[in-house]
Symmetry: C3
Subunit: 330 residues, 3 copies
């Protein structure tokens, strides 16, 4: 007449009681994060790194269900979120073709779709082709929404993982010098990164880009208003020798329409290669949001200062941290 049982999920059953609620209900835009909350998230991301590397797997999110609602394909981002959820013991409902699912196909509003999907899941990760879609979804949903990119708008988890990578690689954010290289006009990555770097002290930013894709004035004005020093520069080698971080980006062909000539010209202008590496400081790193074409030559990969694959991996830790915080709190 004995009951046989086993010890399970102690972390899961305990944490809801001792945890403090996360300050954010949703993750929609980089503007939600101040310096203090960033630091706390980075501490959790570091814990996640330990959890992911340890042999005893976490079941922290067991019983929780994420829906990935992607209105445009982005396999890299989707996989990273789904991996984050599953590494913590959670489960995933995948919709790769959400565009077919609703508005576009039968005329359903995003709000109606969200109201349905929130009934089937505990957290929604959404990628959308329209700026502002994530905010609209969050206003409707009673469960957390994470913006995984909404058109030309925001991609806040990318911005966070970039800052986290600088912290992990360089060891600090105050006082760093960062060179933003490549397509500064169209890349939402570099725009968000510049925005977040403004929260730290004594940061210096260099913009290195072909004329047709220069950083826009709104970001420059914002940096100036926040007393962040910035400078436009057309000599990548010079910048590379000064910087802690050379952040290279892909020139986006799709933005050039039929002007292939302009694209080809812009594309070849600033390449990070062995010559650039040779002038970089020992502690400095090369970053890139990926995918890359040939704006970083592959012989750079083997150099320990090539941080872009570690950066991609940091995306996993940041997303593990955010999913954990939104579902379980601190």
């Amino acid at each position: 007449n004995e009951i046989q049982c086993r010890a399970v999920e102690i972390e899961n059953s305990v944490s809801p009681f001792i945890s403090k609620k996360f300050e954010l209900d949703d993750v929609i835009e980089a503007q939600q994060f101040d310096r203090e909350i960033l630091n706390h998230i980075f501490e959790v991301a570091l814990d996640m790194e330990k959890i992911e590397k340890s042999s005893s797997k976490s079941q922290m999110l067991k019983g929780y269900l994420m829906a990935t609602l992607f209105y445009e394909p982005s396999t890299r981002t989707r996989l990273s979120f789904e991996s984050a959820m599953k590494r913590l013991g959670g489960e995933v409902l995948t919709t790769e073709n959400a565009r077919e699912f609703s508005s576009a196909a039968k005329g359903e509003t995003l709000e109606d779709t969200i109201r349905t999907v929130e009934g089937y899941s505990d957290i929604i990760v959404m990628r959308h082709f329209e700026s502002g879609a994530a905010k609209k979804a969050a206003a409707t949903a009673s469960i957390p929404i994470i913006n995984a990119g909404d058109g030309p708008g925001q991609h806040p988890t990318q911005a966070l993982l970039d800052v986290y990578t600088i912290q992990r690689e360089i060891g600090k954010l105050d006082g760093i010098k960062v060179g933003l290289v490549g397509d500064l006009a169209n890349g939402r990555t570099v725009r968000s990164l510049a925005y977040l770097l403004a929260k730290y002290k004594d940061v210096k930013i260099y913009f290195v880009s072909p004329d047709v894709v220069k950083m826009k004035d709104d970001i420059k004005d914002y940096l100036t208003s926040q007393d962040v020093k910035w400078e436009e520069c057309d000599n990548l080698t010079e910048v590379a020798s000064e910087c802690d971080v050379v952040y290279q980006t892909r020139i986006q062909r799709e933005r050039f329409g039929e002007r292939i000539d302009l694209y080809e010209q812009a594309r070849g202008k600033y390449i990070v290669d062995k010559n650039v590496l040779n002038v970089m400081q020992r502690h400095a790193v090369v970053m890139h949001p990926l995918p890359r074409l040939d704006e970083i030559t592959i012989d750079v990969d083997e150099d320990p200062r090539a941080a872009y694959f570690r950066q991609a991996k940091n995306g996993l830790y940041i997303r593990m941290a955010l999913v954990k915080l939104l579902l379980l709190g601190w």
Copy 2:
């Protein structure tokens, strides 16, 4: 030096031994369900509602594998089944493009596909573009098949969740008055619902639809043969004031071919808006199988009598119940 633990998965380990087999091997069409079995299923669905809302998640279906074999996309239905399975601790193999998989692509028969997939899973949820496909699959498979819609044919789980929603919202099924509104000619939802309502006593059905999409004679004749009172009516307000349930449906544009003029005319005719709400009784509800366009105005959403998102959620409970019953029995 004691080890603390708690009993887990008792339901899982015990239920196989004490459970009674479910009367059905497969869920193929609404005709399989009589009043008594519906009542029993609704009790299980209510249990599922409690399980889903409780903080301690069920692992009842741990180790079981569902394959969702969708020959045409229906993300809403697929997500709902996959959520049902995962909410009970089960796992899912997804095939969103099953059409590519077999017949259409290389000429494999449905039977051969089923014989292969049943080797990889414990239950198959199938959506198909051809009427009768689910029955054919069930005849081949030695594991349970659930029909998630086969062309113009059946969509039995939708019919069940509709009846369940009336039971949950109104508290009874005998003696209710239901207004079926909109596209009654093409909507398999309203046809199945009318069919199932005939199993209850003293039901009165009102048909409110544009002339081009009126309810077909087969259902009318069936209702008459079952002594169910029905009436065609062209005044939605009048019907709404009488009914316990106003069941609105979308006019399906794809059925009108090039006659966009007829579609536009039919589409605007019967709209559920604040004016309709105003004449409805306090206990009455508005239902809709979703997705909706503008046949229910969005200002209706905030009224407690707007039951359509609760109805969508009930789809989860009904599917949890059916999957549980088919795999574990009562």
Copy 3:
């Protein structure tokens, strides 16, 4: 009033310590397997068969994550791998449209994609349209890669499950007679099978195929060099009466381009039907890699010698075995 506990998942927690490393880091091509390792793998596959059939489900791979990276669709193969992983308690990240993901879409190299995906998973199953892609991926990745077919190249798990099926059905591999029938020029299946059969003693192979799709000389020369007896033959009935295994394959229409006439002619030439069954020995079996069209008539299905659906199921056991071996060792 004491609660007794028991240790669970002993296999999981213990095996890493007592297990011996698998000889292979990746599964890329049939040439990696010698007779001894095949025998050992087949023993593990037999264990997997027992695990899959037992009511107590295994959690051997709990906490492990497989990424299925499919650059061309192959739902059958993908489902089989995902089922294998989930039957052992592991989890899966699915990418059905990996082609969009990387190179083809934005110009990312396969190597860069692999470096990213290996950060999110513990093992990658890859299907690619280019011969040699799997080898390239394995050279890059620090986690195991399984080749699930790379263009006209290799599909080693199919070859293994074919040999395993012969072992399971006939009870031996030495001394068997195998008739390879159908499209011998284009089918990588029969080519790999012939290659693996050469590892066993006193094997005799008959090639039965329309002239336009005859077995190529490289395999014939290889068999000759390995002292394997082979013969071309145009009488299927005669061969069937001699053989232990009749291995039928589909004539691949896509290889004939606009010469539909040649295709139709080739396609009808060698059909396995009741007449062929009638001359086959009692212990002999019919195999087919599936999908089949009408090269095996459906009235053959009910004969116990029709082994092709059991063969498909064996794919599950072989893949369970390989995933287990690559992740946990022997």
